[in-house]
């Protein structure tokens, strides 16, 4: 049996990768330990969040599934950071953990060119550094041109609760025992990472009256650019806010040595981004209380997650009996029943410095990796890599140059560049502060930034492309129009003191003017498409800042264009500092720009490199 592409793993990275290659037209096989687990959300019941919400939009702009499926599975939706400025607004949705995977599974099952198979991959078929296929745990072989590994936390995973250690994946799923050893034999550097998840609570046993309600926004939002979300805006599910207290902290302190983390049972490096509650209490000992949220997992009656609430902020590796005590110390959860105990999980990943910016491996030709295997954390980060791996797998089959998103084009570009340039020692989470051009990487313009790439790849249809072109055109038209439209001072005086007759453009530029006011000042805006109006207002209001960021980014783009040949021999460059040589040798950057982002490579080294490139490769550096 032979496929163009085999994807190993049915998580958020594997889904996007397999969907992309099959949609483009390559015969694709997705292998997963349990088909019913495809699209599962093993941790928090939410999609999006700060910066991650932008990634969901970027995946959607490129033609991926995450945003569209999330839109059909929302329990609650919020626009975050709306008061903090245009660059950091993001959507965060509570997603139904039963609905999301089932919709996803249906989408994949009906996808042309895509087959799903339940199996565990334990070995690779490799011929002189080219990957040729996989070997399953039963010894059978399946061949392919391109292999995409999106194994998540399933490589040699271990579930930890106190001193208990189980050799399995999340939910007791079967893990892959040998694949990471095999990768190591092939030359991959294997790193051990750790993450964790909090307990799930039976909401019927919680006293919700003692908790602060957290509601969704009144406005309807959608992740996808292609259609409306389906939740009932007026009937969104609530989340609840509670705090830890002195008693909780005492219990944790008294039992610290029983936790896997502090009892010395964990070897992996955990992320600072989601510390366990015991970590929080040890590291921030002067903090009297920590914030926790109770979030609904599913509203599908009789499903396994129905009535089960996720206790966000309370991730722990304590043994079950201590977890009981800890949960019962919380206000409103005195008599709560724990449906699933929290656990820490350790797993193998590869060093992302061995991955190219295309997400193809530097070690094995034809092997791509995406998601947690590359050292990231989060559904959205996984999906973002998955779709790029899929697109680039296809481009490789077609003999095309890979799609490499720049840092000024997408959060996905920042994510991948960070991984392959700086590496990571803990699960990598996206943060808005990682993106130096975040004013350009907004959630409202993800389609303008990226849809054309999706179109080129064959993931975006003609009609989607036409919609985008229309949006861009109308925005441009409005930008001209508002310069000419004058609003009389008699109208403006209702809004500002001592107003003078001004152009609509000048009015939009006033900091205090918001969308609602604009519609009052110039009623024709009420008829304008909401998306276009929002885009227009941001672009006009912050024009100076956006132009500045754009100009800065242009300088970078120039350096990105200065490519470094892949066969360069750094040993031949005589004046490089030894640290720089070592790093360049290891990371093998594809451009002068990427080289200059490597820590330990100084401007003088970059100069020497540039001179060498000119000398060896002539004018076409």
């Amino acid at each position: 049996m032979k496929y163009d592409v085999i994807v190993v793993g049915g998580g958020h990275a594997g889904i996007e990768a397999a969907y992309a290659t099959s949609k483009i037209g390559h015969s694709t096989l997705l292998i997963t330990g349990n088909i019913k687990n495809i699209g599962d959300m093993p941790c928090n019941p939410s999609i999006g969040g700060s910066s991650k919400g932008v990634i969901v939009r970027e995946v959607d702009a490129l033609g991926g599934l995450m945003g569209k499926v999330a839109d059909k599975a929302l329990l609650q939706m919020k626009m975050l950071n709306s008061s903090k400025g245009p660059a950091v607004q993001c959507l965060r949705g509570q997603a139904d953990k039963e609905l999301y995977p089932s919709i996803m599974q249906k989408a994949l099952m009906s996808q042309k060119n895509l087959e799903l198979k339940e199996a565990i991959v334990e070995d690779l078929i490799v011929e002189s550094n080219n990957v040729k296929g996989v070997i399953l745990s039963d010894g059978s072989k399946i061949f392919c041109d391109i292999l995409i590994l999106t194994t998540g936390t399933y490589l040699k995973s271990e579930i930890l609760r106190g001193s208990e250690k189980l050799a399995e994946g999340p939910h007791g799923e079967v893990r892959s025992n040998y694949l990471s050893d095999r990768l190591k034999d092939l030359g991959f550097k294997i790193i051990r990472l750790k993450t964790g998840t909090p307990p799930r609570i039976d909401v019927r046993t919680a006293d919700l009256n003692k908790m602060q309600e957290e509601l969704g926004d009144d406005t309807r939002y959608s992740f996808s650019f292609d259609g409306e979300s389906s939740y009932d805006v007026n009937n969104q599910e609530k989340c609840y806010l509670i705090y830890t207290n002195h008693k909780t902290h005492e219990i944790i302190k008294d039992n610290l040595d029983k936790s896997s983390m502090y009892g010395g049972y964990v070897t992996g490096v955990g992320p600072r981004y989601c510390p366990s509650i015991e970590d929080k209490i040890v590291r921030f000992s002067d903090k009297e209380r920590h914030i926790l949220f109770l979030e609904p997992q599913s509203m599908v009656e009789n499903s396994k997650y129905y009535n089960s609430y996720y206790l966000q902020g309370f991730s722990t590796s304590m043994p079950p009996d201590v977890q009981e005590e800890m949960v019962h110390s919380l206000e409103g959860l005195e008599n709560a029943r724990i449906l699933e105990y929290a656990y820490a999980i350790e797993y193998d990943a590869i060093d992302p410095l061995q991955v190219k910016p295309s997400l193809e491996s530097k070690i094995l030709n034809g092997l791509f990796t995406a998601g947690q295997i590359n050292g990231t954390s989060g559904y959205e980060e996984a999906a973002g890599q998955g779709i790029i791996a899929g697109i680039n797998a296809s481009r490789k089959i077609k003999g095309l140059e890979p799609l490499i998103l720049k840092r000024n084009e997408a959060y996905i570009g920042v994510l991948i560049d960070d991984l392959v340039t700086k590496g990571t020692i803990e699960p990598y989470r996206m943060l808005t502060s990682r993106a130096e051009y975040r004013l350009l990487l907004r959630h409202d313009n993800a389609d303008i930034r990226l849809r054309n790439y999706g179109f080129e790849a064959g993931l975006i249809s003609d009609s989607q492309k036409e919609k985008l072109d229309r949006k861009i055109l109308q925005c441009e038209e409005w930008k001209e129009k508002i310069k000419k439209i004058k609003i009389d001072k008699s109208i403006l005086n209702n809004f500002f003191e001592n107003a003078r007759t001004s152009s609509l453009e000048e009015i939009i530029k006033r900091p205090v003017v918001n969308l609602e006011m604009l519609k009052e000042i110039y009623p024709e805006f009420k008829l304008c498409d909401k998306e276009i109006l929002e885009e227009l207002v941001i672009e006009v209001k912050y024009e100076g800042y956006i132009v500045k960021a754009y100009n800065d980014a242009q300088k970078l783009t120039k350096l990105e264009g200065k490519q470094i040949p892949s066969d360069i021999d750094y040993k031949k460059i005589k004046n490089l500092a030894s640290e720089a040589r070592e790093k360049l040798e290891k990371i093998r950057p594809i451009s002068i720009a990427q080289a200059s982002r490597i820590s330990g490579v100084n401007p003088a080294d970059i100069s020497i490199l540039a001179v060498y490139l000119r000398k060896e490769y002539g004018k076409n550096e």
Partner: protein, 448 residues
Amino acid sequence: MDDIIAAISTALGAGGISIIRVSGKGSISLVNSLFSGKNLEEVESHTINYGHIVYDGEIIDEVLVSIMKAPKTYTVEDVVEINLHGGIATTNKVLEILLRSGCRQAEPGEFTKRAFLNGRIDLVEAEAVGDIIEAESEEARKMSVQGLTGKLSQIISSIRERLLNLESRIEVNIDYPEYEDLEDMTTEKIGKELEEIGQEIETMLEESKNGKIIKSGIDVALVGRPNVGKSSILNAFLEEEKAIVTNIAGTTRDIVEGRMILNGIMINFIDTAGIRETNDEVEKIGVDKSMQIIEKADLIILVLNNNEKLSNEEKELLKYVSTKKNIIFVNKNDLDKKIDIADENVVYGNTVDKNGLDSLKNAIKSIFQLDDLVKKDFTYISNARQLSLINRAYEYIKSAEEAVSMEIPVDIIENDLANARKTLGEVLGEVYDEELIDTLFANFCLGK
């Protein structure tokens, strides 16, 4: 290679003349915008032009500007060389002005690198380009390490800490908006902190840039009775140092009679015309006038005659002089000693065979620790790049303050803060881009 680079291409503090080299497309018009004299954009290539560097209406220095148009130049680009005679302070000032006006500080070996990339240096010579870059960057590294000991780097570090702290408090709100127990960073709070940070940078700029010695040199008053040899001493200095003898107004608004450069520091000799033409009757006035000069000057050189007893007037001067930085120079030591003065802190010499003049110079150096100044506090005085970076950081803070006053949202303000922090980091040679994230997670307790 589409930007304009500039660098001081002579060793600083070594002599009276220094050269700043500017290269790149547009360099002629850029220098022209700071030049008063002929229109440099219209002069022939490979000419030397006399004029002044003027910035903000102030004449910075009298200069000779060489214009060399592409392609027959070292870098194959338009090249401008500015010859200055202003010592460290003026040279740095002019470089700093260039950097502010759109030039970029050349990286080590960059002129040579451009020469190579533009095809002027062939492949054989190119072998050496790497050596030059390596050597120059090593030199630059040493210099910056040397310069950054002490107070300045401490101040910059502490300002960076403040910025980092402020940023992390803003960012934590953005990346973890659901954490309701976190401090809400309002624009008022940010504005207030920005104002304080801005003031800190201002103070630092004042202290580092306007250290009077560095900026305007040392004002020296040569005091003494008529014919005691003041003019001879002055002339001897000036002749030897090939300094400029002018009658232009000095920074102290006194008439500067002459200038010499000692270890790159300008020594301004203040005219003591007031006492020179005094007669007995107005001797009192003369003393008063001397007092005034003594009051203003950074250093008094009291010149006495070895061959005469101290007059009452001189005794009085001695008393006053002792309250200031002073050197007693007993002139005419080739004649019999009749002076009744203790030998302590006294330099003997004469202007006939120039005996004792080097001792006098050494005395000036040691009083102002000029040898140390150049070595130890190089940052303060020698590094226009650092000064321009600090200025740029200051501008980012000002721009953030303006944004706050215009109620621009925090995500945009934060951009200026990050730029200010990174720019200050460049001064220290610390550009480390995970620091904000590290601070965020070190200071706040976040996550699932």
